[in-house]
Amino acid sequence: MQPDVVRQVKSNPKYHDLVAKRSAFGWTLAVVMLVIYYGFILVIAYSPTSLAAKVGAGATMSIGMPLGVAIIVSAFLLTGIYVARANSEFDRLTHEIVEAVK
């Protein structure tokens, strides 16, 4: 890439806006996912019996079953949330930045 293109892009306030917004959003979601997953791992490591507890009196299903499925679903939903914003707002900003240097 030409040095002047780099300078031009970096002097565009929209570029800094994009980078700041996107990394804040991406890392926030990443932390949410990490907390969910490592929370789960730590429960398995330190308190496995709490996952084996029954969902209700007389039930066979344990709390860990719906919880596990909920984690799978949460991974999908978080990804969807990111894509929705990235493919609209972030892509629009990116497009404007790219157009400005053409």
Binding site: M33, I44, T49, M61, M65, F76, L78, V83
Partner: protein, 565 residues
């Protein structure tokens, strides 16, 4: 079985589960030839050959060969990624794990899945914008090409090789059971078919085979799960109740069991599962098969959905099999039967072909011989497709990274590079067949574990630091990568899985089953240390290059494939 793409994740899994590993290692009884299964299988092979022929006519440039021309849509690519994940190991392995241990199977499924959102949130964009064909393109972007590419190509090859061996052994075992073929013949057959796909069709054919397989496997597993659930009036509670009643471990299958016991091993496994995904060369290549970052993101979204759905299906398949297989004494070995009925204590150990065959037997139980044939053919195709993807990733490391960039110093032309690539593919295929035969009795779990640990320890730290840390230098990246690779390999060798189970020593030198908790930080520390102390000329250049790299990462300006497709 054992394909194990997600294998890496899997690997650790298998390591922790002696019974499961034994199922893989143990002798497989050759069975009568299943005509229906073979007919279904041949139909599948014929169909995919047709695709390869079509793809070959469209594979003209190196870009076509490596990335399918960058013209694959996000949805298609999402299916292909899911296809890479829905390996025979996931399908047969997780359902078998659930069958034998219950809840533990779900723990591993979750570990495989959660790496995806993380890659997406922090790296997918950058990967797509920096890369061309291989992971080394990204890692070496602003660094000394020779050093970084050599390191990256080497670690990619090690990861690929260990996966390949595991696949070949797994494929041989599966074919032996399904088709009644001789083991060596089965391995050679897998090798030949895989070579045909890759050499003639390249990434286009490999991707399409993955897509078709993913669709067939998802439909087949959906049917199987629904048919199985119908036996319980579609009530999960009823299924769990009967499973607990029939399982030798009783109510223990409803919570975490012996797989992950102490906290350190649990956390180490979690690290490997999550970050290994981001370092697998054949998975990273899939980011370059789509035209832009937008499609790359969509493909991750679709892939996460398909994979998550698939894991939920395998969970239902495993649990329902606990109840349903017992009704078919013919699936069991003779010594597991008492007066013609299955002995409860032998529910797991007495299954014909071991727990890896749970899904296959369940297919027979709910859908008869035709459905069994269908699932068998898809399971085989699964291995074939994953092996093809792995071989392609290995061939790219040789032709694109080692040959074109390091040996020819960028002076080679595309035609020569393609020739080298095809030659490398054939060589890798032959090596895979030979190793598959040599390692027949080997526990594939340890090889997969090694592959996983290497991906998370050697590739992932260099990749993420090159994108996010402006002060990383060529020296830091190179030494950090080699250290991550070495530490992961050494720790795996001295752990129980190899030191005791393979080499035959009395006790392991280290109690850690998965090296990730040590090897990943080692790589990061080495990258940091050897970068900040690097005062060379090259280092100055590396630091100066960050700004331009960052702009390209963030905006995609100058990225591959932005036009022309």
């Amino acid at each position: 079985m054992k394909k194990l793409l997600p294998a890496s994740l899997f690997a650790s899994l298998f390591l922790a589960l002696p019974a499961f590993a034994d199922a893989v290692k143990g002798p497989v009884e050759k069975q009568a030839i299943n005509v229906t299964a073979i007919v279904m299988f041949l139909a599948f092979v014929a169909a995919t050959m047709g695709i390869t022929y079509w793809a070959a006519s469209r594979t003209k440039t190196a870009k076509d060969f490596y990335t399918g021309g960058g013209g694959i849509t996000g949805f298609q690519n999402g299916l292909a990624i899911a296809g890479d994940y829905m390996s025979a190991a996931s399908f047969l392995g997780i359902s078998g794990l659930v069958f034998s241990s219950g809840y533990d199977g779900l723990i591993y499924s979750i570990g495989f899945l959660v790496g995806w959102p993380i890659i997406m949130f922090v790296m997918a964009e950058q990967l797509r914008n920096l890369g061309k064909f291989t992971f080394a393109d990204v890692a070496s972007y602003r660094f000394g090409q020779t050093e970084i590419r050599t390191m990256a190509a080497f670690s990619s090859l090690v990861v690929v090789a260990f996966y390949l061996i595991a696949q070949m052994v797994g494929a041989g075992k599966l074919i032996q059971i399904l088709f009644g073929l001789d083991y060596n013949l089965a391995v050679v057959g897998v090798g030949v078919l895989m070579l045909i796909y890759v050499v003639f069709g390249g990434m286009t054919a490999t991707t399409w085979v993955q897509i078709i397989k993913a669709v067939l496997l998802l439909s087949g597993a959906t049917f199987m799960a629904l048919a199985a659930l119908s036996h319980f009036g579609f009530s999960p509670e009823e299924m769990f109740k009967q499973a607990v009643a029939g399982h030798p471990k009783g109510d223990k299958i409803m919570g975490p069991g012996g797989l992950v016991t102490d906290p350190i091993n649990a956390i180490s496994l979690g690290l490997a599962l999550m970050f290994g995904t981001a370092g697998l060369p054949h998975i990273l290549m899939r980011f370059f098969t789509v035209p832009n970052a937008k499609e790359a993101r969509k493909s991750v979204f679709y892939a996460t959905g398909f994979i998550g759905y698939f894991y939920i299906l395998t969970f239902i398949i495993g649990f329902s099999a606990i109840v349903l297989l017992v009704q078919h004494p013919e699936f069991y070995k003779a010594d597991a039967l008492v007066n013609g009925a299955v002995d409860k204590a032998k529910l797991i150990s007495g299954l014909n072909g071991g727990t890896n065959m749970v899904a296959i037997h369940l297919a027979n139980a709910v859908g008869g011989n035709i459905f069994l044939g269908f699932i068998s053919a898809v399971a085989f195709a699964t291995i074939l497709a994953v092996v093809s993807g792995l071989t392609l990733a290995g061939a790219s490391a040789i032709s694109h990274d080692l040959y074109a960039s390091v040996i020819a110093k960028g002076r080679s032309d595309e035609v020569t590079e393609m020739k080298v690539s095809r030659g490398a593919t054939i060589t890798l295929g032959v090596i895979a067949v030979v190793l598959g035969i040599i390692f027949e009795k080997q526990n594939v779990a340890f090889m997969v574990g090694l592959a996983f640990a290497i991906a998370a320890s050697a590739n992932f730290p260099v990749l993420i630091m090159s994108v996010f840390w402006s002060k990383m230098t060529t020296r830091g990246a190179m030494i950090g990568g080699w250290i991550g690779l070495t530490v992961a390999v050494v720790l795996t060798v001295i752990s129980k899985a190899i030191w005791v189970d393979v080499i035959g020593n009395a006790a392991p030198l280290i109690t850690l089953n998965n090296p990730a908790i040590i090897s990943i930080p080692s790589a990061f520390i080495a990258i940091w240390l050897f970068s900040v102390t690097d005062k060379s000329k090259r280092a100055e250049q590396d630091l100066l290059g960050f700004e331009a790299q960052d702009v390209r990462c963030q905006t995609g300006i100058g990225a591959e494939g932005a036009s022309g497709h």
